[in-house]
Amino acid sequence: MDRIGQEEIFGPVLSIIPVADYNEAMMALNQTRYGLSSSIFTSDVNTAFRAMRDFETGIVYVNAGTTGAEVHLPFGGWKETGNGHREAGNIALDTYTEWKSIYVDFSGRLQRAQIDNQA
């Protein structure tokens, strides 16, 4: 794909890509190394659900543009948009925390996991 359709511009520049049908549109949409946001305008509910399944982005809009995230849902992208972490939503806590698993044995005797409870 050419540079105008592949590289981030970060300015008010649009390229128009004509396609034959939904499948070609979906392939064109996914044919980028980034995967932040996408949108589809259609009046067919089945096609909308196909897009929700098929678009390789962290955010998908149906009958709305690519912007307008709300803070209580995860925000972030697939592929080279990021490294798998998400901001916003309660999943944002994952970035800043470690998990600690805690076991409290109140049997008063040695109990060996994976051994003493086997038949």
Partner: protein, 359 residues
Amino acid sequence: MTETAEATAETSSNDVPTFHHFIAGEWCDSTSGETFESRNPANGDVIGRFQRGTKADVAMAVSAAWAARPMWQRTPAPKRGEFLYRFGQLMADNKERLAEAMTREMGKVIAEARGDVQEGIDIAFLMAGEGRRMHGDTVPSELPDKWAMSIRQPIGFAGIITPWNFPMAIPCWKMMPALVTGNVVLFKPSSDTPHCATLLVELLAEAGIPPGVVNLVTGTGGEVGDAIVENPDIGVISFTGSSQTGRSIALRAGERLKRLSLELGGKNGVVVLADADLDLATDGILWSAFGTTGQRCTAASRVIVERPVVDQLLQRLESRAKGLRLGDGLDPATDVGPLVNAPAVDKVASYIDIGRSEG
């Protein structure tokens, strides 16, 4: 009332205030003795002079944060959340002042600047609530008379490196979850929006967040950003910005096995099928492509259209795009504000040439 950066900013004879780092609860100068300017992209006016931070400044901020870390971690999470509630309310009380300062510093139109501030308020309130949730798991053990559970604990110290395009929302997206989970913070904003960052930190201080918990060091990515990424005491880095810088941070953070959250480039597409409501699609495309002058990470830059409606859609887009009013974002009649700085103007112009040459 806490002493503020505005109150402590020294104003020189030509009325340009000088702002400071915020370290250990004090507004202070850089060891460099140097400052840089932040300018209004709509008219070139100087908004203020900001400290050109150094590695030594980062080291001081790291010691201050490290000293505050045990106290902040032992503060119960619901109590940490209360500081966030107060901060969110202060943002709401100051929404118009913050929005105007944002438009002056980076150009987005005032209605969008208000939205940016609102996002900060929203995440502050959401994360304040996390102080009373922060769920772990309590699960049955496979052995009798044994209890099993998992809890979240803070990594400890977050380095927050943010861009200029959402100069209040993105720092809040990063700092609010970092703080409520019990991390201390060193915040390095983009050199295009140090004033927005200073205003936020001023409100964090006013909300009563204890000294050393949030520290602000302004300056370049090469000096301040690198010192943050390479500091062994800073366990988690959260960065939003260019793919190129993100890769360079990832290499260095990877070597040190740091937690790293990256939010980098996008090439967002809108699909318009033949059965779409074309007027609605036109509205959505214009808002996504030209809102914030196309400088959002979620901005649409590709429109993928089924052939039968290409001409109709183009016609609508052209006539509506021609009607957009360009200008100073503080004028409520402006639809599209300026690009953030001169290099951005050059970059966009070069892509228009690339697009033309590629047909």
